[in-house]
């Protein structure tokens, strides 16, 4: 399964793309991440990951509409591929499995009793 391993940032980016559904383009993704996670993301870091995920086949992209604000440049919308969705689900299951395996967690003190 190590082939499907997702980095933490990659995972977050894919989840955000999934949340935004058909509206996921660069700026919107950054805004969403900043809003939900209170985390500063630079365009450079995000775009590198987006292109990498696209190359791996986790995401696909298409050109969208152009606006005046964008100097007449089109947006590039990203969507999850079926493969990408599968990977996300696998990751989630793995996490849950790990969580469930923890015996009797004391959340207040942060250690198992």
């Amino acid at each position: 399964m190590s082939k499907h391993h997702l980095g933490e940032f990659e995972e977050i980016v894919m989840l955000t793309v999934a949340i935004l559904h058909d509206e996921a383009y660069g700026i919107a993704i950054i805004d969403e991440m900043e809003r939900r996670l209170d985390r500063k993301v630079s365009i450079g870091a995000l775009q590198t990951v987006l292109r990498r995920l696209e190359k791996k086949g986790h995401l696909s992209s298409r050109f969208g509409e152009a606006t005046h604000k964008r100097g007449g440049k089109r947006k590039r919308y990203f969507t999850l591929t079926t493969y990408g969705r599968k990977i996300l689900e696998t990751t989630k299951e793995q996490r849950l499995g790990l969580w469930n395996a923890i015996p009797d967690l004391d959340f207040k003190n942060g250690y198992a009793q």
Binding site: I43, G44, Q47, F63, T67, R70, G71, R76
Partner: protein
């Protein structure tokens, strides 16, 4: 939109983005960037938005997003590379003198830059080895109204300070009290003074001194324990482990070695060879709980990120504690903090543990380094472009044979980068060889191993490559742009008007700098000469002195004197508490005739004997010297200096009372401190038994048969004071040592001035050569038409000499201003005479003329047939 252009992202950065970005990404990424820019403009204003835009573009410059660059530059074409290399090499060999000057000048500049940069880095590296260096602060104090040597700040702290700090302020994480002190150690027959660190047990929580063997903290709780540094352990016990061995301390007690610490680095503001508990300081018992026991240093550690000014603001409560102990004084201490890393360069207060350096010298050194490198770089570029002027035929030929523009650019760039790289290699080698010499010159121990030296070399390499690239660029672009016919005719390298102006500015800049430096070094030299030869008010020749401490031989002083003077070459002996080198002992007196105890006078004190004034050949303005013929002298008489009499407002002092004693004489003012301090009031009293355990034995000899006299001195002193080491020093040497820093500074400054002037001349030389190449035909035609050799020499020289003259005119006021300020730091200083400026200006002009004429005379002597024949 009213201001349409202003609301757009900067054009240049946008084109940069479009240039590097992958073509299939460029559209949507640019859209994203612009959208973000539009929003930032609305939220934070255009100015900030532009900055953020630039930052965004730079952050997008990542391998994943950059387009792949086709190999347009052919840099890695092996055959071409070999050819370029070979041609470049031949070219260097063909113009040997040019090559020598070019590489030599650059190498010289780099050597200077690297050496000075190493020095600057070293000075900045102070205290860096402590893990908490950024959080350690020294607690010092201001005593308003207590001016001592021109400052009311003291690097001292009382004993109760550290416990009080810990109790009052929870943000003080840990703190330590310490002091360095030279104590007497003996092992068997041998005895030495060794500098030690006397500290409380929290020392290791504040400072980082790794313990190699044995124990650290626990040893500081035990006053009978001592931690030696590795080198001191070796000195006393050789290779064997010293743990458990004993040393005799201050002829009093026995200390057991409990630990061995690594030798402390030299780049910290205090030095020591061993560490022991501060309870071993003689005055420890008396100081417990005393808020005016200013015999210690206090260091605290604050939390990371905490602003120390915040703590300082709360110090009022602390000052209140101290105030009660100062009731009888006219001043009260106020404590303040000094960041540990600032101490070496930014703290010039009283009672520093070792003399600190000054950030101004660091700035000056950095400025000199940059100026020299700049001068060398300008030359390098001028020479490189001048040299390429002679190669237009080669360029033309290459073009005809089908060389592409990129290949030509490549060739020139490669050649000049090669030279730069070669210079760098040479410079590195020389730095390695010269570092010991440089260390000796500046009296430092810089090694190539310390942190930061790598940054210096890396920086230098980067500058070298940049320089090579830049200076190759100019001829590369010029030559490659010319058409083959033009290049073959030799016409592509015309002198453009702007180019000439720029070069003139550079020459003026170079010579202005060189002349300013030259004037400065003459002024520094003259001031130091003045200090060395100024009448001090006493004689310091033929004097030897032996400092001593903690010996009780007051009763045997006469016997010792008698024994010493038995030697025929020993003329006089005197015992004095201080020498007129750096008298530091100062106190207040509030009783004198005409003062009802209301005022007090700060006065330096020196406890002397009957022979002191005679031995130093001081002269008395009025009254008489102490004499054994007057039995009351030892208890009821006192001698003042002129400044004291003046400070008291007396016409004549004889017979008046001062400090409950009668003034019997006034000694002519003599310098008892360095020249940056004015002569202040001082009294000379006869030494008493109570004051006799510290001081100096001063011996006047004829200096003939010195070895013999020295043997006699050592034998005698050993007999009288068997328990202390006898270290004799020469008065004049010690005097010169006080100005050692200034002297070194002057020497170093002169050397670098010479180098700067030399480099400036090389630049001029190169320019003249360049100029002559361009005017070869003109000179030929002039000669044919009957111009004489002096005519032609004058014609070419005139323009250059005018530039040097302009430089001199600019340099004089700058130098006058700068040196005037430097001299202000000295209480006794020379006048800035006009002739210094005139001589240096003329000297620069003379040197420039010589440089220029070596070339012009040669050019003027060439046969016009040779120069005109070529077309």
């Amino acid at each position: 939109m009213p201001n349409k252009d202003n609301n757009r992202p900067p054009k240049w950065i946008l084109s940069f983005f479009r240039w590097y970005c992958r073509s299939d990404y460029v559209e949507d990424l640019e859209g994203d960037l612009r959208e973000r820019f539009a929003r930032q403009t609305g939220e934070r204003g255009v100015h900030r938005a532009k900055w953020l835009f630039i930052l965004d573009v730079l952050r997008l410059f990542r391998p994943a997003l950059i387009r792949s660059f086709p190999a347009t530059l052919h840099i890695f074409d092996r055959a071409m590379l070999q050819n370029h290399f070979r041609i470049g090499w031949r070219n260097l060999l063909k113009h040997r003198s040019f090559t020598l000057i070019n590489i030599g000048g650059m190498t010289l500049g780099m050597i200077c830059f690297i050496l000075i940069a190493l020095y600057v880095q070293y000075e900045l590296s102070y205290e860096g080895h402590h893990e908490k260096a950024d959080r350690i602060y020294r607690v010092s104090q201001i005593q308003k109204g207590n001016d001592f040597r021109g400052s009311n700040r003291f690097a001292l702290a009382p004993m109760p300070l550290v416990p009080a700090l810990k109790e009052l302020f929870p943000e003080v994480r840990t703190a330590t009290t310490l002091e360095t002190y030279e104590a007497l150690f003996s092992l068997g027959e041998q005895s030495f003074y060794e500098r030690g660190l006397f500290a409380d047990e929290h020392l290791f929580e504040v400072f980082t001194y790794p313990i190699k063997e044995g124990i650290g903290k626990e040893a500081l709780k035990d006053p009978d324990a001592i931690i030696l540094t590795e080198s001191l352990a070796k000195k006393y016990f050789g290779e064997a482990s010293p743990i458990g061995k004993t040393l005799h301390f201050e002829n009093d007690r026995t200390l057991t070695v409990r630990g061995v610490a690594a030798d402390a680095p030299k780049n910290q503001h205090f030095h020591f060879d061993y560490i022991t508990s501060f309870q071993n300081l003689l005055w420890y018992q008396a100081d417990i709980g005393r808020w005016n026991s200013n015999n210690y240093r206090a260091y605290i550690v604050l939390p990371a990120g905490y602003d120390y000014k915040e703590l300082e603001a709360k110090f009022e409560t602390l000052d209140a504690h101290a105030a009660s102990a100062y009731k009888q004084y006219s001043f009260q201490p106020e404590f303040f903090l000094q960041p540990l890393k600032d101490i070496h360069l930014r703290s010039q207060i009283n009672f520093e543990m070792t003399p600190n350096s000054d950030i101004r010298y660091i700035y000056l050194a950095a400025a000199i380094a940059i100026v020299i490198l700049l001068l060398a770089s300008i030359n390098y570029m001028n020479l490189a472009s001048a040299r390429s002027a002679g190669r237009s035929k080669e360029v033309g030929m290459r073009k005809v044979l089908g060389a592409k523009r990129g290949q030509l650019v490549n060739q020139f760039m490669m050649e000049s980068i090669l030279i730069a790289f070669f210079s760098f290699g040479l410079a590195m080698g020389f730095v390695y060889l010269l570092l010991p010499v440089f260390n000796q010159l500046i009296d430092q121990e810089i090694s190539l191993g310390f942190q930061g030296s790598r940054a210096v070399f890396g920086g230098m390499l980067f500058i070298a490559l940049l320089l090579g690239g830049l200076s190759g660029l100019y001829p590369a672009v010029l030559s490659s742009a010319a058409t083959p016919i033009k290049a073959l005719k030799g016409g592509w390298f015309k002198k453009g008007k702007e180019g000439v102006f720029l070069r003139n500015v550079l020459v003026v800049g170079q010579f202005t700098t060189a002349i300013v430096l030259a004037i400065a070094s003459v002024v520094i030299y003259k001031q130091l000469d003045y200090i060395q030869n100024k009448k001090l008010g006493y004689n310091r020749d033929h004097l030897v002195y032996v400092p001593y401490r903690q010996v009780d031989f007051y009763e045997r002083r006469d016997a010792m004197r008698a024994e010493l003077t038995k030697h025929p070459e020993i003329e006089k002996i005197s015992f004095a508490s201080s020498l007129p080198l750096n008298t530091g002992s100062q106190g207040t007196v509030d009783s004198w005739e005409g003062n009802g105890g209301k005022e007090e006078l700060w006065i330096y004190r020196n406890y002397i004997d009957y022979d002191f004034i005679d031995l130093f050949e001081m002269s008395l303005v009025e009254g008489r010297n102490y004499s054994p013929e007057y039995p009351t002298d030892s208890t009821a008489s006192i001698i003042l200096n002129e400044s004291a009499v003046k400070a008291l407002g007396w016409e004549s002092a004889i017979g008046k009372t001062f400090d409950d004693k009668q003034v019997i004489g006034v000694v002519k003012d003599f310098h008892f401190q360095t020249f940056d301090l004015a002569i202040e009031p001082m009294f000379l009293a006869l030494g008493t038994k109570r004051r006799s355990s510290y001081g100096n034995i001063v011996i006047k000899t004829s200096m003939k048969d010195w070895d013999n006299s020295l043997a006699h001195i050592q034998k005698t002193l050993k007999a009288f004071m068997p328990q202390i080491p006898i270290e004799h020093r020469f008065m004049d040497e010690s005097y010169n040592q006080m100005y050692q820093f200034e002297k070194k500074f002057g020497e170093v400054f002169t050397i670098f001035t010479g180098i700067a002037l030399f480099i400036a001349c090389m630049g001029l030389f190169g320019l003249v050569a360049h100029n002559i190449v361009l005017r070869t035909k003109e000179i030929g035609i002039r000669k044919v038409l009957g111009a004489s050799i002096p005519n032609i020499v004058g014609l070419i020289s005139k323009g250059f000499l005018r530039l040097v003259l302009v430089s001199a005119i600019i340099a004089v006021p700058i130098a006058a201003l700068g040196m005037g300020r430097w001299l202000q730091d000295f209480a006794y200083r020379i006048h800035l005479d006009w002739w210094i400026f005139a001589t240096m200006g003329l000297l620069a002009l003379g040197i420039a003329f010589l440089t220029v004429s070596t070339q012009t005379v040669k050019a003027a002597n060439r046969n016009p047939v040779d120069t005109l024949r070529e077309e």
